[in-house]
């Protein structure tokens, strides 16, 4: 399996990469870790004339925490997310989710920027970023702008990113309270049949706030206010979990594929979400 021909470019800074995107137009695509794009190129489902590799751009790498805000460079790999003690302290849900992505070899290469920019509903990071209420920074010919993760996804492989923009970093507030990322998959290394991310805070035995998002259950990630609201003010007992699950299942829109029919996916989504809420609450 060999992709079609292309020309290869290795800019050393973001400005250089944007200039290439402008000059080369439609034919050009950036590559980060390549572990979504290269398989698509081999299948000839992505056909491009120019590949712009971001790997030499140092400014896109690394994790920093400043005044409670976590900022992660787009080219930071899943492996680096898992290894970062600082990140595990500030937002442990990221490590928990990253460990459930693919396999070790893929995680050494795959980047957080590629995972969130890709727009594949199967990717785990977009739902997680909606749960965290993260902000993406995009750089383009006219400078930088910021887009909320909850506003970024339009349809499968369609996002708010313009063709000449590069996603440079992701930021979110460090988390407090309980957290969990649960994923049902057919085998280790597989994309989710259903997955969910939950953050919960507790005050005097009651749920003070909750944030719930789900993966691979619609053509975009699904963040559900209704599901979160069903938990707030309760003691997260069975009735509250049932109400939250019902609200979440009403918000998703799964499609039948080789992971199962629609009814099955809705069932699995409910089971996984209940499990995620219970575990997050037990840690709150």
């Amino acid at each position: 399996m060999i992709p079609g021909s292309f020309e290869y470019h290795q800019p050393h800074d973001v400005e250089g990469a944007i200039r290439l995107l402008q000059d080369l137009g439609d034919e050009a695509r950036v590559v980060a870790g390549g572990h979504s794009l290269i398989p698509m190129m081999k299948l000839r489902m992505a056909d491009l004339g120019h590949l712009i590799d971001l790997r030499r751009i140092e400014a896109l790498k690394g994790i920093s925490i400043d005044g409670g805000t976590v900022t992660i460079g787009a080219m930071t790999t899943q492996h680096e997310l898992i290894e970062s003690k600082m990140l595990a302290d500030a937002a442990p849900i990221v490590r928990e989710a990253a460990l459930q992505i693919a396999d070790p070899q893929v995680r050494y290469c795959g980047t957080i920027g590629g995972n969130v920019a890709n727009g594949d509903p199967g990717n785990d990071m977009p739902g997680l970023m909606q749960c965290l209420d993260a902000t993406y920074t995009l750089a383009g010919p006219d400078g930088e702008r910021q887009v909320a993760a909850r506003e970024f996804y339009e349809a499968a492989y369609f996002t708010a990113r313009e063709d000449e923009e590069i996603l440079t970093s992701i930021s979110f507030a460090g988390t407090a309270g309980g957290y969990a990322y649960e994923k049902q998959k057919r085998k280790i290394g597989d994309y989710a049949t259903a997955a969910s991310a939950v953050l919960i805070t507790k005050n005097g035995g009651q749920c003070a706030s909750a944030s719930i998002a789900m993966t691979n259950l619609a053509d975009t990630p699904v963040f559900s206010d209704e599901a979160s609201d069903a938990l707030v003010g309760t003691s997260v007992d069975d009735a509250a979990i049932k109400a939250a699950t019902a609200a979440a299942v009403a918000a998703i829109d799964p499609a039948e594929d080789n992971r199962g029919p629609v009814e099955f996916k809705k069932h699995v989504a409910g089971v996984i979400l209940a499990r995620t809420v219970e575990r997050a609450w037990s840690r709150a």
Partner: protein, 163 residues
């Protein structure tokens, strides 16, 4: 489209060639550099038979372009041990029957090599999790895990003896 000059270190030796940007690293390693150890199993990034060590990471060489390996430091199974001087991992795979047909073995050992560098004393669960990117159609994995655990024990004993 034109070929580009690429240079990398493979098993301690400087290697260079001309490659089209679309050529996958696995093809250049096997066909131009003669490193037939890393195998092509699935070519779809799933099986791990093509695993090499690249700049300290286990990488599926079927999912990287050769041009992306410019200046990289690469180790393949050929650089881990030789028939006359087996690496402990290779010796333990032999002793514990960690292979049958052997097709997955170069990838398994190259991955296990990096795993033990990062975690010299893994639990069985950590070995299974760390080896999740490598598929074997023959052994059922039990003996692969056993071989890696035995290699870890042996390497640790050797380290202690040296102190």
């Amino acid at each position: 489209m034109g070929k580009v000059h690429v240079k990398m270190t493979v098993n301690g030796q400087e290697m260079e060639t001309l490659a089209e940007p679309r050529e996958l690293l696995i093809h250049v390693l096997r066909e131009q550099f003669g490193m037939k150890g890393p195998h092509i199993g699935c070519e779809t990034s799933h099986c791990g038979a093509c695993t090499i060590d690249m700049d300290g990471k286990s990488v599926k060489a079927c999912t990287v372009f050769a041009v992306q390996a410019e200046s990289a430091d690469i180790t393949t199974i050929e650089g881990i041990g030789t028939p006359d001087n087996l690496h402990v991992l290779q010796a333990m795979f032999r002793e514990h029957h960690g292979l049958q047909c052997g097709y997955c073995t170069p990838g398994m050992i190259t991955r296990a090599y990096r795993l033990l560098q990062e975690n010299p004393d893994p639990t069985e669960e950590e070995v299974r999790f760390g080896m999740a990117g490598n598929l074997c159609r023959c052994t059922g994995y039990q003996n692969i895990v056993k071989a890696i655990m035995a290699a870890a024990a042996e390497m640790n004993a050797a380290k202690e003896a040296a102190q």
